[in-house]
């Protein structure tokens, strides 16, 4: 049992991040804080991919003349890293759009508090 807990500590921390992110998105009233929650949430998933690529006693997937290509098992899996580069780009784009929307909202309503916004939306 302890082995199970300790052996997967990376995953436990990822799950913790995931939950923190979800909490931020669902329970925070301020849109900026929601956004932070969203970014934490995305990061946790990126971490998950990266963690899944890890191998003990293997090196980064960059061709090392000392290691050669004969034994591919000596490199950690490169695919997850490539995928996550793309996912990071996607995440940055998402945050960008989200921030610009938040700025627009602030210009329109002079507040980022969701409860206030809902009232303004009803009245207008």
């Amino acid at each position: 049992m302890t082995d199970f807990l300790l052996g997967h500590f990376v995953y436990w921390s990822i799950i913790a991040l995931l939950i923190i992110g979800l909490y931020g998105m669902m329970f925070k009233n301020n849109l900026a804080k929601k956004l932070i929650g969203m970014i934490i949430f995305q990061v946790s998933i990126i971490m998950f991919y990266v963690a899944s690529a890890v191998k003990w006693s293997a090196t980064v997937p960059v061709l090392d003349p000392a290691t050669g290509v004969a034994d591919a098992a000596k490199y950690i899996s490169p695919l997850q890293h490539c995928l996550m580069l793309t996912a990071i780009v996607v995440g940055v784009a998402t945050s960008g759009v989200a921030f610009s929307l938040a700025i627009l909202i602030y210009r329109n309503y002079k507040t980022l508090e969701e409860s206030d916004l809902l009232e303004h939306m009803k009245s207008s």
């Binding site: 979800l22 998105m25 849109l31 929601k34 956004l35 969203m38 949430f41 995305q42 998933i45 998950f48 991919y49 899944s52 997850q80 995928l83 793309t86 996912a87 996607v90 784009a93 998402t94 759009v97 989200a98 929307l101 938040a102 627009l104 909202i105 329109n108 309503y109 916004l117 939306m121 207008s124």
Partner: protein, 503 residues
């Protein structure tokens, strides 16, 4: 001839999306014709793809010459080519119609609007043709980000609605990403066909079940399946009319398509129905969603919001078809993707015309003067409404017919009852509008109609402002009759070709 045609449509749209801002630096007016040319091109290409696939079988394209499972593969089978054609056709009509609307609702923003629209369609086409799970995620995000933008450029409340959609949408996409992460760890592949072949060799792995539930959750949000639909009504209501007309027919349907693709063509019917009661869950949620959406639609006083809730209900039909997990349900679901795209497209276009003409779309303010002001739009609305109710010979009848057959086939009488009851609820909220539009005398008139009946001639666009606002609406809604009458051809030639194995 065009061996690389699977990749052409997304690339064409992507190139257009990038070149519109560049071309339109000097002249804003260029954006519209460029968009129309690209959109028309995508229609032509996807019709070519459909005919090619139906004649010669599935078509694949491998990016950079890398073969799967290493490289990214684009696959056109009858299902994907068909859905792509539906999306591109409906988008073509909405974009054609958009020129008159965007000038009024989003003045000065035509360049970003058209660029985003192209990006949105590029994402949609990419999602449809890709055979790679991660590539799908990337396209999904392109598609969604463009969608947030399209909604956000609307009226004052639009950014808020868009922001909430963005949060929900990102959660959905992230769940999807997490799901395919699990799948990758277990199978070591991201190619859909490859994963399909590997999965049977690893029975009973909890990670696969987790992947399935995460992907369902993610797509459920994007698809707005009850109770994950919270983002939809505001987003559709506050978006510019022409954006809602573009997103409503396409947005949720794409997610439904992904769900069909992954449930039935990656996991496979046996696995899905054996490992988790996920199809039953989808069916029940959809059934509740159908009733909930219909009841909420009845309670709305704003036409776009009513149509938005009606979308929640309609997506339930597709979900129900998926959840039945038998051939007839599958036929109903895929056919309803087509039907609902055309019905909702036409209804939202009418709402746009209404807002253009009268400045608002409050149901309480509708009256019989509209049948003089917008005779063709209202005729189109009537046809689309009859189709939503599901009366023959319109298209809507047939999706319900196949779903009803599917429900009976599975012995699920509750779902049959839901389908029938929702028809009646649809009738209530559509006839409420039709009654006003055709029968409620307008207030404060002298009793004499502005346009005497005898003056109304055939062929003239009395009241309708321009052909680009009238023709797309009329074509889309009247093609519902053609789809209805010709549905057997579509079902036999296209949908039944790819009934998932094991159904």
């Amino acid at each position: 001839m065009l061996h690389n045609s699977p990749a052409l449509v997304p690339l064409l749209l992507l190139a257009t999306a990038i070149s519109i801002p560049l071309l339109a630096i000097r002249k804003e007016k260029v954006a519209y014709p460029v968009t129309m040319v690209a959109s028309f091109g995508s229609v032509i290409l996807s019709s070519y793809n459909v005919s090619h696939v139906l004649r010669n079988g599935p078509l694949t394209y491998h990016f950079g010459g890398w073969f799967p499972p290493i490289g990214i593969e684009y696959v056109l089978d009858p299902l994907s080519s068909f859905v792509a054609l539906v999306v591109n056709v409906i988008a073509f009509f909405v974009l054609w119609h958009s020129s008159g609307i965007q000038k009024r609702e989003i003045p000065g923003k035509s360049v970003p609007y058209y660029a985003l629209a192209m990006l949105f369609l590029c994402g949609a086409n990419g999602i449809i043709v890709t055979g790679d799970l991660f590539n799908l995620y990337v396209f999904l995000e392109i598609f969604s980000l463009a969608g947030y933008g399209l909604i956000g450029i609307g009226e004052k409340q639009a950014p808020v609605a868009s922001f909430r959609y963005l949060i929900m949408g990102t959660v959905g996409a992230s769940f999807y990403l997490l799901g395919i992460g699990f799948l990758y760890i277990v199978t070591g592949s991201l190619n859909m066909a490859d994963v399909r072949n590997i999965l049977p060799h690893i029975p009973g792995n909890p990670a696969v079940a987790a992947a399935l539930s995460l992907i369902f959750l993610g797509m459920g949000i994007k698809m707005a399946i009850f109770p994950l639909h919270g983002w939809l009504p505001d987003a559709y209501t506050y978006a510019p009319s022409t954006s809602s007309a573009l997103i409503a027919p396409i947005g949720t349907k794409i997610a439904a398509y992904v769900l069909i693709r992954i449930l039935f063509f990656v996991f496979g019917v046996e696995f899905v129905s054996r490992s988790l009661p996920i199809t039953d869950l989808i069916a029940w949620l959809s059934a509740i969603g159908i009733l909930y959406g219909s009841v909420m639609a009845m309670a709305q006083n704003e036409m776009k919001r009513m149509l938005a809730y009606s979308s929640v209900a309609q997506i339930g039909y597709i979900g129900l078809g998926i959840g039945l997990a038998n051939p007839l349900g599958y036929i109903g679901a895929v056919l309803h993707i087509l039907n609902h795209a055309f019905m909702k497209g036409s209804l939202f276009l009418v709402a746009a015309n209404l807002r253009k003409k009268t400045g608002q779309s409050d149901i309480a303010k509708l009256d019989a003067s509209l049948r003089k002001k917008l005779p063709w739009s209202m005729a189109a609305f009537t046809v689309a409404a009859l189709s939503m109710i599901g009366l023959p010979p319109t298209a809507g009848f047939f999706s319900k017919w196949y779903l009803a057959l599917g429900a009976i086939d599975r012995g699920k009488w509750v779902f049959l009852a839901v389908i029938l009851v929702s028809s009646l609820l649809n009738a209530v909220y559509f006839f409420r509008i039709l009654e006003k539009v055709y029968l409620l005398p307008p207030p404060q008139t002298t009793g004499e109609d502005a346009v005497p009946e005898a003056r109304r001639g055939w062929g003239s666009v009395v009241g309708e402002e321009q052909y680009s606002l009238m023709l797309p609406v009329v074509i889309v809604s009247f093609s519902l009759l053609l789809i209805g009458l010709g549905n057997a051809t579509i079902v036999k030639e296209v949908i039944q070709r790819v009934i998932p194995l094991g159904m």
